[in-house]
Symmetry: C2
Subunit: 233 residues, 2 copies
Amino acid sequence: MGIDCNNCQARNSKLCSVFDGDSIAELFEIAIPVKVEKGSYLLHEEDSTKYVYNLSSGVSAVERLASDGRRQIMAFIYPGDFIGVSTGPAYSISDRALTDVTACKWHIRDIEALYVKYPELEQRVHEIATRVLAATMDQIFVLGRKNAIEKIAYFLLYIDKRQVKFDGHTDEFTLPMTRADIADYLGITVETVSRAFSLLKKKGFIELSQNWVVRLLDKDTLAEIADHFGPNS
Amino acid sequence: MGIDCNNCQARNSKLCSVFDGDSIAELFEIAIPVKVEKGSYLLHEEDSTKYVYNLSSGVSAVERLASDGRRQIMAFIYPGDFIGVSTGPAYSISDRALTDVTACKWHIRDIEALYVKYPELEQRVHEIATRVLAATMDQIFVLGRKNAIEKIAYFLLYIDKRQVKFDGHTDEFTLPMTRADIADYLGITVETVSRAFSLLKKKGFIELSQNWVVRLLDKDTLAEIADHFGPNS
DNA sequence: CGTGAGCTTGACTAGGTTCAAACGGGGTGG
DNA sequence: CCACCCCGTTTGAACCTAGTCAAGCTCACG
């Protein structure tokens, strides 16, 4: 097994942090290590909901695909994030690896079996679901009530916050997702994403190199834009 | 107390149905009955998250209001639905009564105290959160990827499904919310809602009387429209 | 060095917003 | 009892943001 919990990027995740240095072994013993390469899926909509996942490294996207090809990305998943919390027989979402990804996969029943010995675990799983719900509410507001530029500004700040843990604190990061992914996350088109990036670049709020490296030059203004951007801005 | 659990519209809700005829009294004893009139709020964004609610009668809307007046409705709450599941110190959403409303309110700690005696209760609360999450995912797709008419068709079918329990099975129901509420739920404007209603009426798929009574005349077609409505439809 | 996937940019279009006016029904006060 | 008003809704017309279509660019990779 190539997994060493104490060096895992997810070591401090809501789930794993329930266990201390010794007892973490118990969680690890029932874990099924998973490796998925860029572009492949960790799970599909139709899969039966037997497993939950905790991302160890890489980035993935929770998405739903309609029969006519329209796609919506529900969330981007970073190390320590949880996937697979679901009710009903099938996840109703897929999870696609945006980079090469490793994860721990558990049979739900195996996790539940640990609830007795570690009561806090159950509470944590519940907390995870609740946190996801809160994040989802934010996204509903963004999708329903923000215009394209507000969406992009919001997105950049969101990614900055998510990614700072891994990249350091330089306000500079490398986007793991394509413009199409960003578009499908924000409910707009690639062209609109591109135009918004160009505008923010021209105005001097961000810097782009090689398309995927973003540097935020003026976070305060970006925050204002994310909050409100209108004709008289 | 004016509450009789066994005649409550929420008697079969995920929460209350854990208890049988006798033991329901235990849940009721720690319940704080709440009455809120149309237009008032059951809870505000800033309220500290001490309580959870189960709607007994009426309809309410979970919403968020931005400083510049933009509003987004996250969900409509019907009898048996749950409100207040949250992490963090404050709900970050408000809940406004669309009609006169009654609800049971519990201190979270009182509910948690019952977990020991009724282990299924904890599981149910978790299940509720998960269900809400699934519904929210649907809404994200709708907001991000559906056009105005698809949204309205989806909305009508959604309300039909929610409301059929209380109105009977006639495919006819009375909307408890205004056009503005519908608009804020679907991320469009009142005018667009109104135009979409008119179109569906003209095409003979729905019937409207007194603005609030809707009759679905052709649910199959509505479902097709909700799924896909384009230039060549 | 050529190729192609992904990104940008431009011109045009269209769906939805905005602004404005008119409608309708329920409630109030004369 | 009726006139009036008000709020929510509908409808129309102009406008504008984002989508669509198309071309050209960039850069990683073979």
